[in-house]
Symmetry: D2
Subunit: 349 residues, 4 copies
């Protein structure tokens, strides 16, 4: 184990944290050396997550950023919004590599962060240092970096579905409407009426319409790709299921483009990227087809009647939308093969 990279996970008792534990357990080059929870330090993690019994038996550590270097080479932050911004400076100072799975370093503008997150932003200097790790789009920028900001779950599904078409100028950026749907695990483990079984089962509901904090993240990336400001209409819904995100994306097509044209464009764009799978004409990906895996599957329709394209993009929100992409970013940072330890076949059915 001495030759493995030592990884610490801060925020281990959230769903993102335990998913990191699940996935890193299968990684050949990484050893988890510290599993950290401010709320449950001193307890075994299996006390709250019995599925980890006999798998992780050490006690949860408390957060002690100053001592982290002795325990780890890389730190994953799976913390609530507003926590990572305070921890990252200390971690970087010690020479640790940091992958932030929270949203604290995604927006480059502190004002924008504060407007959408309603919390104090990280400092500009650190926002500038953070590399946005949308692996299949900006992966080449990740290698050798120290601070990676892992994309949000909705932005991952949405941007992987949009970037090639926006970059190619095939769709009108002003026309983009994203109807997004997520399983309930995206809301975290906190107990509230909003995560109560009897309220959500046999129910389909919208939330945070036009107000989700992932909106500026999507717009920031699209603006960079399009070379012009982009504003999207974006709606989020809760689906009565645990895992999975689908973004159904609508946009006006520029010029004459068939479904086959779109499929060709995307296959070319994602050439060699093992975790994006472009579907054939008439095949619509379902969320279960990527369950438990790091895949993002994308399908297309073009409606000649309306001149609009419909792009459907699905991911597992806890894997490609969080822990899986974080590990993919670790692989890229370290110069390892992108898919190392991540080649899970989706769990189906």
């Amino acid at each position: 184990m001495s030759s493995k990279v030592r990884a610490a996970i801060i925020g281990s008792t959230g769903y993102g944290g335990v998913e990191l534990i699940r996935l890193l357990a299968a990684h050949p080059q990484v050893a988890i050396t510290s599993v950290i929870s401010s709320s449950s330090a001193g307890e075994p993690i299996a006390a709250g997550y019995p599925h980890l019994q006999e798998i992780r038996t050490e006690l949860l550590d408390g957060i002690d950023p100053a001592e982290m270097k002795s325990k780890a080479d890389v730190v994953f932050l799976a913390t609530p919004a507003g926590v990572a911004s305070g921890l990252v400076p200390q971690l970087l100072e010690q020479g640790l590599k940091v992958i932030d799975v929270s949203g604290d370093f995604r927006l480059k503008s502190p004002a924008l962060y504060e407007q959408w997150y309603k919390k104090a932003s990280a400092e500009q200097a650190y926002l500038d240092r953070a590399v946005y790790g949308l692996a299949e789009v900006f992966g080449s920028e990740v290698q050798g970096q120290e601070l990676i900001s892992n994309p949000g779950c909705y932005p991952t599904a949405t941007l992987l579905g949009l970037v090639p078409a926006v970059a190619a100028g095939w769709i009108d950026p002003k026309s983009i409407i994203v109807d997004a749907k997520s399983g309930v695990s995206g809301a975290g483990r906190g107990a509230s009426l909003g995560t109560h079984y009897s309220e959500l089962n046999e129910n389909f509901k919208a939330y945070k319409v036009n107000q989700h904090q992932h909106i500026p993240e999507i717009e920031q990336v699209l603006a960079r790709v399009a070379g012009t400001e982009v504003t999207v209409t974006f709606t989020t819904h809760l689906v009565p299921m645990t895992r999975g995100i689908m973004s159904t994306i609508y946009a006006s097509v520029e010029g004459q483009r068939s479904v086959q044209d779109f499929i060709g464009l995307y296959r070319e764009y994602y050439e060699g990227r093992q975790f994006v799978r472009i579907r054939s004409e008439g095949q619509w990906p379902g969320t279960k087809e990527v369950y438990g895996s790091n895949y993002c599957d994308i399908g297309f329709a073009v409606d000649e009647r309306t001149g609009r394209a419909t792009i459907i993009s699905v991911i597992d929100n806890l894997v490609k939308g969080a822990a899986g992409q974080a590990i993919q970013n670790l692989n890229l940072m370290m110069g390892w093969e992108e898919g190392l330890g991540l080649q899970f076949v989706p769990v189906y059915p």
Copy 2:
């Protein structure tokens, strides 16, 4: 019981048929006198639907249109596409009132029907006679009629969410995009991989993108309301739940209109219509909030950033989207109070 209207249900062993049985059992002016199934004639309906044991004990009748008049005053057709078109002429000839819950009489153009349904259309003369029973919009045309075409489930949710704004000219009809989601009962009781539990549970998937037969039905009504041809982008998804439809509707707002403006417009439009409930600002209806009831609940957002309105409309697909609205149409046909026998409180949770 002699003074009650006698009702026959053809297609009783589908989900629409058994829902008619459930709802009519509570109707003070109607007695079910014949429950008809071509496939299961001679059996008790409880053999296939044990929840009806001791509730409906008579045997299922076969279809005998020529004898129907002796058994019934009104006939509900809950048959698969392509069946009602053949039965209706005989039923009308006998002086029966007919409410067709299938789609055979919704489109006024036989060519359009054949294009989208891939089946032979009803004759033009009968299409012309059929009144489209979207109760809160065209209800005044229903009274005293003989042949009512009950709207589809998706069109009901979608049109109730769109008509007031389109009629008022508040949204651009060319900009309409409908992202619709349905519970699985909408696919009927037929067993296939597409209705298989293990394939649908923990799964969210799109189907028939741009190809659903409810598209021309929605466009036909919007054209009538807008006074101009309307083409919509319309996507259907399956939600892992049994009942419920949500239409999330996007459109560009004409002029400056706030959420409160929309709420006011819709409250005025639906004034006195007990089954449409307009939500207050910031309240998004979930499908469960209308479960088992005849309500259609509608909520609004207006995004100043993009100039688009988001309208969310939910129904129970088997009630307001099928059997409930059919009974509402019966009430209107007969000149009874619109809500007679339909005032179910939603089943929650």
Copy 3:
């Protein structure tokens, strides 16, 4: 409405309370005149339960037992354990009729209550006055009474499945094992990890094994029926669904009894009781077949290989297991027809 019985519901914002509202809305002889919640007094109930928008528009009352007589003739208590015991004396003193849907008056022994509920018991005098309203077994004792203790959800399903066989001496009371399963709504609306969607969905788990407070309630009734002390093994499980209870009951058969014998015995015992439906041989009731209704459906197997009977009994926990049986008890108290206002067809599918 002046001639209707006025009903107040205390604990209206729990699931039992809102189910009383749903069911009483359909009752021809009852008007809800006060909807009471200590935690949400002064708010409209639809603020927390949007499905009730436009159905119940008055504000929630606070609890004021001394003033209750001016508002109501009968009071339903749908309160957490330990609350009703304090309210009932005042309510009875005012001459109100009381139906307690909580467990405070079910056990006749204060010591037993305190052992299993871990709370202070109601006074013995009131326990003695309370009539245990298992309608199909003790319904004849309910008429004209003032204080009815409504049975628990598990005891209702279990006892209706056991009483005829125990009363007839057909099964050995010492051999009874009950494997019970409940939908999540039985755990109430309180938010906790134990009711969290992502923890319960795609999960089946046991809880409170041998420790559920409904055990002494079941034993108390069986002892009364058997004429001897009875101890049962009783396990409770959570099913990933909202509504429904199944008790799968195992017991050794005394003498030679076939399935048909059991069916005959139960049909005779429940002769004329509309809410118990005995299934034919080989038919096993599913919980959905009683969904939203007041039915209890019961099926049987007898295994000659082991000499044991398997009895399967299902109810909707919020209807027959709570609000529905409470209204059935009201009907019996008042000398009305037992099924008045309760003849809902199960919601299927």
Copy 4:
């Protein structure tokens, strides 16, 4: 790849078959060389299982037992009942190793097989050759064998929960009652009303009471362990979820044994067996805690009031109850480490 063991899967398009594909993809010593389906030969498997797109791209083979040796060293049979019995002789004759995941070789008596499976049995000679691969109980018999009969899903959960106590004489074998519950994937991929989403969702139901073909399998093993004939009462239920089995087992305790005694007995019995996890007192395993993994988790209660033990045992029916245990048996056959390629952390939540 030349040094890897070559594996063929017959019956690849069933749920057991695709689960073998998922798990074997992670096995370091096995290469899948032929994926066989009689019904879909010539098609890519991803046509029916899009989650396998780009993971398995070769076309499905037809069954050609005589040619199998050129393609594979070991054959997994994931076929419907009655198919493997016909294929196995040919496969063994070619010197192939065979692991039968169907039930054709589990019962040692052809008469018993024909009574419970209603099909022609395999020949006695082959039944005699087949080693019953309940890995943690009979694993030592597996090494070096040619024909392994992989246990059924219910028997695996049930027997792992029962064998140590029966072997120790701590429970009365005549008193055993097993209340078993399964997710729907256990019913396979065939479409029928019995696997229809709208029929199963929000439903909990029993099936095949006293008649499940896994009953004689359980009894055969218990008889061997107990040294005397054993007859069990065994009920199966369908849970509205996809994966997971729980057996809730009841039995009378012989002598004075505490929960701690049981925990100690089982921990000792399963010492060194990584896939059985014994829970601490008061901890009841839920099915989700083993989801997607090869674990069997077991918890205990002892009720002094009734003298009965309650043993709760959970597995993932497709992993430990089928494909996972089959690979575990391959590992044992080959003399490899038992857990090779199987150390998946459960997918939670």
